[in-house]
Structures are given as C-alpha cells and as structure tokens.
Assembly symmetry: C2
Homo-oligomer: 389 residues x 2
Amino acid sequence: MLNFAKAEYQTRLKKTKQSMEKQGINVLLITDPANISYLTGFNAWSFYVHQLLIVIDQEEEPIWAGRRIDASAAQITTWLSNENILPYSDDHVQSTRKHPMDFVAGILKEKGQSNKTIAAEFDAYYFTARNYIQLTQQLPDATFVDGTTLVNWIRIIKSEQEIEYIKRAATIVTETMYKGIDRIQAGVRECDVVADIFHKQISGTEEFGGDYTSIVPLLPSGEKTSACHLTWTDEVYKEGDPVILELAGCHKRYHSPLARTLVIGKPTSEMEELADVTIEGIEAALDIIKPGVTCEEVELAWKRSIEKRGFEKESRLGYSTGLNYPPDWGEHTASLRSGDQTVLQPNMVFHMIPGIWMDTYGIEISETFRVTESGVEVLANVDRKLFIK
Amino acid sequence: MLNFAKAEYQTRLKKTKQSMEKQGINVLLITDPANISYLTGFNAWSFYVHQLLIVIDQEEEPIWAGRRIDASAAQITTWLSNENILPYSDDHVQSTRKHPMDFVAGILKEKGQSNKTIAAEFDAYYFTARNYIQLTQQLPDATFVDGTTLVNWIRIIKSEQEIEYIKRAATIVTETMYKGIDRIQAGVRECDVVADIFHKQISGTEEFGGDYTSIVPLLPSGEKTSACHLTWTDEVYKEGDPVILELAGCHKRYHSPLARTLVIGKPTSEMEELADVTIEGIEAALDIIKPGVTCEEVELAWKRSIEKRGFEKESRLGYSTGLNYPPDWGEHTASLRSGDQTVLQPNMVFHMIPGIWMDTYGIEISETFRVTESGVEVLANVDRKLFIK
C-alpha cells in the first residue's frame, strides 16, 4: 500500500537525520500527521488520539508509537518492521489515569535516550502542552528543544512522484470548481451545491480517485464573503449574492487548492473593480516567479500592482502546500510575505491566494503553482475571472 | 446566525464560571473549537491558526482572540460584542517572528490578570506546547493550571435544542448508511461509494441540510477491516470482501455516529459468529441503560455477554458525543469502560461502538443513544445486523 518507492522514504529519512545532526538533535518526536506520513507512509484517521513517530539518530528505523487498535494501520500502510510499531493500551486514551507520553518516555528510557537532546514539534498540531509537561517530567535529564517544521522544510521541494500526485489533485480541483460554479444559482440550497462539490472531490476522475481535503470546502455567500473561513449553511442562494469558493482537490493526501468568486446576477462596479485588481495582481506576481526569486519579492510584485489601484492586503499572499492532514493544507514553512527570504527552487509548490475582504464583501481568486526550472507552472485550469451567473 | 437562543449561551457561560470558581480558576483559556463554539456560537474553519476564547471570572463577556481575517467570522457567528473580538496581525501566522500567545499574554496583562490563576486546556487539540511555553514565559507571576475538559463536562448533558439537532443528524446518518450499503458491490471503486456517502451527508434531507463530520467516513475493506481508522482508496471492491462503514450524520456541528459491517457475497462462519456476538453484546449493554447506572456498568454488561461466547475487547465500548470539530466527534469526558464511574443522566448522548478486530478482519456494529428519563433511546434507525450483498 505504499504510495512511494521505499527508497524515497529512505531518502526523506536520511535528510531528516542530516538536519537533526546539524541542529545537535539526538531524538526527534514527530506528531504532525503529514510528517509521520512523509517519513513512513502512515495513513489513517488516528491523529485524534496521541500518536507519534520517534526518530533516533543512532537507530536505522523510526518507531511508531500509538494506540493499540491503530497498530494494524501502521502494519498495513507503512514500511516499518513490526518490532518498531509500539502500541499503548486503551486505558491511555483520553484518560486522566494514564497519559500516552508516559508510554513514550518509557520507550526513550529503554532505548537509552533519557539523557539526550530531544526535539519535539512544539508548535505542531497535536503536540499538546500536556505532552510537553509529561515528557519533561518523566525525562528530567533530557534536554528538550523545539523541532517544529524540521521535517516540513524537507517537504518543501517535491519529488517527481509527489508532483504527479499534486497534478492529479489539480485535475480534480479544476473539474470540482466548474461543477460548483455550474450548480450555484438563486433558489438552490448551499448544502446541495457543496454536496455536489464533495462528490466530485472524492470520486475524482475515471483514472484516479479523490481523497478527503485537509480543509473542507469554504463557500461563504452574500455579506458572509467578508469572512474567509466560513463553510456553508442550508439557506438558499439569493439573486445578487456574491459567492466565494475556496476548495482543493486531493489525491493520496496531496493537495491542489484553488479559489474563485462568482456573483449571482449583476456584480456591483466595486466588485468588478476588486476582481480586476486581484487578477492584475496575481498576474504581476506570477510573472516574476522563477528559481532564485525570494518569497517576499513575489509578494512585493503583488503589493505594487494593487497599490497602484489604491488597495492593500495585510494577510500573506500564499504559502507552501502539498501533503497534508486536517486541519490545514499549508505546510507551515515558506509564506509569500514581507520578510520571508526563502529562495524559490524548482518543484516548490505554493498556493497563491490573493483575497481582499472589504466590510461587506470579499473577492478570492487564487492559483496553485509549481516553480519550474525556468519559471512557473500554474496547475489548475480554471478561467481566471469573476464568474457571473 | 446563532443556532441557540442567547439565553442558552448565557447559561452555558454561567456553568463554566461556576466550575472555574469551584476550581479556584480566575481565567480560562479555551482552544478546543467545540468549546469555543459552545460558549459563543463561533463557527468557522479557522482553528488551523491559533485562536482562543478567554473567560475571565470578573468580566461578563468572554474575549475572542484570533487572526485578523477571522474577526469578521466572529462578528457574524457569535453573540460577542465587537470590543470583545480582538484580532492579531497576520505576521503572527505560522511565523517564527511573532507568536499569537504573546498577543494573548498582552491582553491578559492589560486586563490585570497577569498574577492570577490561569487555566488552559493543556491536553486539548490546538493548545500546543509552544502556546504553554510562550504564555508561562510572558506571564511569570501567573499560576498556570490544567483546565482540560472543564467545558467538555458541561457539554455532557444536552438541552432540548441540542437533542433536536442530534436527532436530525441521526436521520441523516440513517439515510447515509443505507445509501452506502446500497452502493457497495464488487467492481465498484471505494472512492465512488464514499462520494455518494459524502453527498448524502452534506445535502441532508429536504427539511434540513448536513454539515461536515469531524471524522471523515471510515470504510476499510477486505483484510484492512482489521484496522479501524483507515479511510478509502480508489481500488474496486472484490467478491468476498468484508467492508466496515463507520460514519456520522452532522447538523449544525452536532453528530450522530454509526457503524455497520457488510460482506460482499458469503460471509465466513467466523464472521457470522463475530457479528452475532457483537449484536448480543450491544443489546445486553443497551438493556441496562437508564439514569443512575454508571458507564462502567454498561461496559461490564457488554463484556459479560461477549465473554460467555469466548471473546474479549480491550478498547473502550464508547464515549460521549455531540457538538464537535475535527479531528474527533468524541467529547473526551465519559467513556463506557472499566473504571469510569460517571453516572448516566437524562440527555447524555453516547456512541456505543463495539468493534472487535481479529488479525485479518473485523466487525463494527454501533449505535448512538440518548439516556432518557427512564431508559434509553437509540437514535438512528438502521437494521442491527451483518449486511450481506
């Protein structure tokens, strides 16, 4: 069931250990489900209980530690050998009696790591304050350091196989976006449109299926378009409503996000202008992308473009994306924003999402792009315009 | 856009403050999205960045603290006044320069709370180790204590309006389960069945729409039924495959989960026996449920029933459910398991999920139930049997 050749996982692990060595880290505790999956293939919806991957500098193979009923998922979906799949008993689950980190501390003691430099992803999803408190209490001789995004930064440059999965996701999002735009009209319930969107996302194409996306479709309508992370309701669309569609295609956990805006009926001239400004800004930013350019230079091209038209946007212009699990499809590494001097390299993938939100409406028109050897490749294939229904 | 009368939110807040007072807590920092929603109505997919609700014992209204572009979601979906919606600037987002908890510490200082007893949900989703480290560094004179599940325990008894939403979710899950069972057959791709399941979950019924569920549908097939939290693939079902369907209906963020198992073709006699044992065990457990019975007594009735047939199950039999956000639809309070002496009371709602997983196959047949004044009400309406296709 592995989605990549075992050699690719080994390369990723090797890079992880190199990064650990540079930072003087002996043990890395990984809770971000995308990082666990990246290194081992692990793929199950079991991140709602504590689970983690333990990478020890002196040991060839990482250790998966998780709930007993999830050990078979590790056996089925990863390349790890059975003796490195270490389950804890069920009385550790959401319990005040036993905590899974006590189990993890026990493993580290047994492996002779209790006085080493141990990094954990301090600011990653699912590495809670309680995890930190338990581990530091149980391992008083260890030195704890922050390993947040250590693996994420290795993920930022994609392999050919990863790009292939992301392109399949882009095909899915292209078809899904047109399906959503096609279905929206006055008198139709929001939930019925979103149901069709989900259907297309998950069924995918005849050649390959879809996977769940790490963020559900976001479809604010009317004045709610001023709020970018609302989902949907069971109200019907009304004549004159603007509707934002932000959604992704996903294949084998790899994402291609995309946003478009439409208006049911006649857009106001303000909305038309805002869409124009946004599209001009996207194009100005895309124009300068090639290896060697920095993230902040891309954002600056956008900013200069919209400033000429009298607009500004405080929030970042975009972020690295790819392999992800809920609640986010962003990779938490490079962002297209002022101060981010990450240098673009081939096979980085970003979601550039220039949203501008006014008091009572907003516009989002986005693209996911790959940095190529000489420039940029936009992945989805949806008209870049304000859609009118 | 509130889903409940403002008075209901006020009652919830009052109970929260009473619980804080009993535990000597002056300030409660809430990150669990379900708890934030429970107290304020807040409903957006913005929990992928740091956001929290600050309840101060001496202040009437809580404070929402989150990313600037999500402040309008707080204005639209909550009953909070504008001056209690405090946004941080975008350079705090997934950044190594500024952390949102520095912003939160600033609020607490300004409100004169920096030397008080501050509880945070140490083991809740999205309260990271980094949050804890930043807050304790910024507020050295405060006493930090663990407030995990303080609000969750208030959520355990549902109001009539909450029960109504859960019953709508049960109607959705009933129709969805039959749709999934109907669509599964040899030669059909797993992703195409799951697409139809999503469609039904989200469109809901003609009277009310569906919401996204906090866990996606889990549909392991074949030998993968030995692993309970696998999702789906784009492979086709094969003759003889067992398939587990664990999924929920959701309405306005309230869940009714349900699991069933089917076999494509003729089940083995071992599978038939395991299904019989499971159903007998569920019925033995349901039989004793009424107010006054403890959670561990319910589990014991199940355990005795299956032990008579020579089976055992280590994992808990079930858990409280209701209002939830990804990654879990469980409430993290009472569990149906040995040692849990929570006394059942009317309008508690549990998902009883007796799964038994063998080395190469498994059976899950579950029910979500409400404790009534005198007994139990099973919420969904799906035949309790091993389905044969």
